[in-house]
Amino acid sequence: MNKEQIKQIKRFENIIHAVDALFIVIYIGLFVYLFSQIIVPHTPPETFTNYEYTIFGMDIDTLVLNTWMSYLAIFIIITVPLTIISFKKTKYREFYEYNHYVATNYFVNAMVSLLVLNPASFVLKIMASHRILLQSEKYGFKEALKRIGHGIKNLFKKKERVVVEEDNELKRAIQKQTIVQFTRMFFSYLFLSIIALMIFIPFYWMILTALKTYYESNLTLSPRFFISLSEMQWMNFKYVLEEVDFSQYIKNTLFVGIISTTGTIFTTVLAAFAFARLEFKGRDTLFSVLLMTMMIPGELYILTNFLTVSQAGFGWIGGETGTNSYFLAMIIPFMTSVFYIFFLRQTFKQIPETLYKAAKVDGSSDFKYLTRVMIPIAGPTIFTITILSVIGSWNAFIWPRLITSVGDVNEGRGFWLISAALRDADFYTSGTNPRVMFNMQIAASAIVTIPLIVVFLLLRKYIMSGVGRSGTKG
C-alpha cells in the first residue's frame, strides 16, 4: 500500500469530517432558529392551538413546524455521535488498518448521510469508500458490488454436506455443549436487555411526555407509547424556559456552579499540594482529622450553616427584601471539599518526589513548581474534579432550596436553582381548580436531565474514573 495515497485518503477524511461538522452546525442553527420562532401563549396552554407561521417565505402551521423540528432533532441525535465516533476512529487509524471493513463502514455511513439529507457528505463518503477499496483490495466499487451479489447467491445455494464419520457420542456431547452455551448467552443478553430497558424507560417516558399536549399527558386514558412527529409539541420547552422562568433558573445554577467550582479547584489544589509535598508538623494528624469529617452526615452541618448564613451570623439571607445575597450563601459554603482534597492529594503523591527535588535545586519556588509541574501532570484529575463539581452543583437541591425558602418568597424565587424550581415552580393550569400540567413539569425535568446525559456521554471516561473513587451520591 502506498503511504502517499493513504495520506491523500486521510486528507479526504478530514474534508468529510469538516462537511459533517458544517451540516451539524446547520441542523443546530436551523433548530434554534425554528425554536426561536415558536409562538408561546402567555396563559397555560391547556388546549392545542394551531398557529400560522411564515418561515423562509413559506406559510406553515404548527403541525408542519413540529414535524420540521422533530426531523432536525432526529438528524442531530443521529449525526453528532456518528461524526464523533468516526472522527475518533480515523484519528488513531494506522495505514495498514485500511481494509474492506473500513470501506463498508464508510458505505453504511454514506447511507445514513443520505437519510439525514446530507448529499455532500453522501457523495464524499461513497468516494472515500471507493478509494479505500481501490487502495487496500485493488478493486473498485463495481467489483465490490459484484462480489456482494455472488456472496448472496452462494448463501442461497444448497451446500453440499460433507459427510464425515464421527464418534456419535462425541458429536452429541459437542452439540449439547453448544446448545448450553448458546442458551446461556441468550439468557445473559435477555437479562441484561430487560434491566437496560428498565433503566431506560423512565428517560424515554420523560422525553415523550415532554413533547405531548396537556390533554394527552393529563387527561387521556392509556397514554400512547409512540407519537407522530407532527404531534411533538416543541412549544412545551419554550413555555417552560420563558413562562415558567427556567431560563433564569438555569442561569442561576450555572452561575453558582461555575463560581463555586472555581473556588473549589483553587482551595483544593493549594491544600492538596500542602498535604502532598510540604513537610510540616502535624500534617498527618490534620489530614486524618479532615478525613474523619467525611463520614459525618451533611445534615449535621446544614443546621449550623443555616444559622451562620442567616441573620444570626453573616446575615446573607433572611433580611429585608433587597438586602439579601442568596448567591453568597449558596456559593461560599461549597467552595471547598474534603473529598476532592483527598482525591487530588493521592494524585499529587504519585508524582515522583525527585521532580520536586530537581525543581528545588534549580531554585524554583514551591508555587512555581505547583503551577508549572504538578498542575499540568495532574491535569486529568483536576478536570475530573471540575466536572464532578459542576454536576454536583447542577444537582444540588437541599441547601439551595432551604436558602431560598426563608424571607420574602417572591425574592427567593428569583434565586432558585433548577432542582428547587422543578419541585416548587408554577406548572399549574389557570382557573379556580389548578392542576399540575404534567407535560410542562416533565419538560422541565427533561431540560435538566438532557444536558447532564450529553456531558456524561462526551466525558464518560473522566466521570467514571472520578465516581469510582468517590463513594455514594450526594
Binding site: P202, Q441, L452, G474
Partner: protein, 341 residues
C-alpha cells in the same frame, strides 16, 4: 513597548532584591508558615462550615428552649431557658411518630427508614451483583450496557423522581398501571388518594433500586475485573457449574466490595430525602392517607424548616451521626479482618 515594560519590571525586582540583601532579610519562611499559607483558604472555609458546625451541634443539643431574640438595639442574641444532657435526645426519640406510630397513623419515621433499609438495599445489591456478573461474562455490547446502567447515577434525583411520580399515576393514565393491565391486573392508586402504605412504599423502593444500581454495578464490575483469572481456569478444568463458580469464587473474592456497598447503601438509605420530596412532595403523604413516608433525614429537615426548636434538630442529626458512625466502625472492623474465604 514590551521591552520597556519588561525592563521596568526587572529593575523594580532588582531594587527589591538589593533591599533584601542589605537588610539581611531572609524570606525563607519556616515550613509551617508556608503550609499555612497554602492551607489557609481551605482551612478557613472548612473551619467555618465544617468544624464549627460539628462543635456547635453538640453545643446546641444541651440547651432547652434555645431561641434567637432581637435586642432593643436590633442585635440578635441567643436566649435559653436551661440546660439538659439527654433531654433533647429523649424528646426526639419519644416524639410523636418517631419510633412508634402515633394514634391516628399507621407508620413511623423509624419504620419507614427500616423498610427502605431492609427491602430496597438487599434488592438493589442482589440485582446489581447479578447484573455485574452477567455483564462481566459477555464481550460484545459490554460498554454499551455499562453506559446505559450508569445513566441513573448522573441524573438529577428531583427530575427523575418527578418522572417516576408521573409513571405511577393512578388509574389508566399511568404507565405502570397500563403495563400491569397487559397481565390483566386492574389499575390501582400508587401515590395518590387511596394508595395503601405498601404501594406507596413500593414506589419509593423502586426508585431507590433504580437510582442506586448504577454505582453498585460499577463497583462490583471493577471488583470482578480484579479477580485473578487463574481461579476461573482452575474451576473450568474441574468443570465446575457456573452457579458454583459464582457463589464460591466471584462472591467471596469481591466480598470486601460487597461489604463496602452494604454499608454505604445502608447509610444512603438512612439519608433518603430528595426522592421522597420528588415523589410525594413536602408532606411525604399521599392525599388523604393516614400515614406518611418520612425518613430520619426528612424528620431533621422538618425541624430545620419549622425553625421552632433548633436543639431538637441538632439532637436528631447527632442520632443520625451516631448510627452512621456505628455502621462505619463495623465496616472498618470487618474490613480489617477481611474474612472473605
Amino acid at each position: 513597548m514590551k521591552n520597556t515594560l519588561l525592563n521596568l519590571v526587572w529593575s523594580v525586582r532588582n531594587v527589591f532584591q538589593r533591599l533584601k540583601e542589605k537588610l539581611h532579610l531572609n524570606f525563607n519562611l519556616p515550613p509551617w508558615v508556608k503550609a499555612l499559607i497554602y492551607l489557609s483558604p481551605a482551612l478557613l472555609l472548612l473551619s467555618l462550615f465544617t468544624f464549627y458546625p460539628i462543635v456547635n451541634a453538640f453545643r446546641l443539643v444541651i440547651y432547652t428552649g434555645y431561641q434567637l431574640v432581637r435586642d432593643v438595639d436590633g442585635v440578635l442574641r441567643e436566649s435559653i431557658t436551661g440546660y439538659t444532657l439527654i433531654g433533647n435526645f429523649v424528646k426526639v426519640l419519644s416524639a410523636d411518630n418517631f419510633i412508634l406510630p402515633s394514634s391516628h397513623t399507621t407508620s413511623s419515621i423509624l419504620l419507614n427508614t427500616l423498610a427502605i433499609v431492609f427491602i430496597s438495599v438487599p434488592i438493589s445489591i442482589l440485582l446489581s451483583l447479578f447484573v455485574a456478573a452477567t455483564l462481566n461474562s459477555i464481550k460484545p455490547l459490554k460498554s454499551f450496557f455499562q453506559t446505559i446502567y450508569f445513566l441513573p447515577y448522573i441524573t438529577n434525583t428531583l427530575a427523575i423522581g418527578l418522572v417516576f411520580a408521573y409513571m405511577f399515576k393512578s388509574g389508566d393514565t399511568g404507565l405502570v398501571n397500563q403495563f400491569f393491565r397487559i397481565f390483566g391486573i386492574e389499575p390501582v392508586s400508587w401515590i395518590e388518594r387511596g394508595a395503601t402504605y405498601w404501594r406507596a412504599m413500593a414506589v419509593l423502593i423502586a426508585f431507590g433500586v433504580w437510582d442506586g444500581m448504577a454505582f453498585k454495578i460499577m463497583v462490583f464490575m471493577s471488583g470482578m475485573q480484579g479477580i485473578d483469572q487463574q481461579y476461573y481456569q482452575a474451576a473450568a478444568i474441574d468443570a465446575t457449574p457456573k452457579r458454583r463458580v459464582f457463589t464460591r469464587i466471584t462472591v467471596p473474592m469481591i466480598s470486601p466490595m460487597i461489604f463496602y456497598i452494604v454499608v454505604t447503601s445502608v447509610i444512603g438509605a438512612f439519608k433518603t430525602y430528595s426522592s421522597v420530596v420528588a415523589i410525594f412532595g413536602d408532606t411525604a403523604t399521599p392525599d388523604g392517607a393516614n400515614y406518611n413516608l418520612k425518613t430520619i433525614v426528612f424528620h431533621i429537615y422538618d425541624y430545620i424548616y419549622s425553625g421552632e426548636d433548633i436543639s431538637l434538630a441538632a439532637a436528631a442529626s447527632i442520632i443520625l451521626f451516631a448510627i452512621i458512625l456505628a455502621l462505619t466502625l463495623v465496616q472498618m472492623y470487618i474490613g480489617k479482618k477481611r474474612v472473605h474465604y
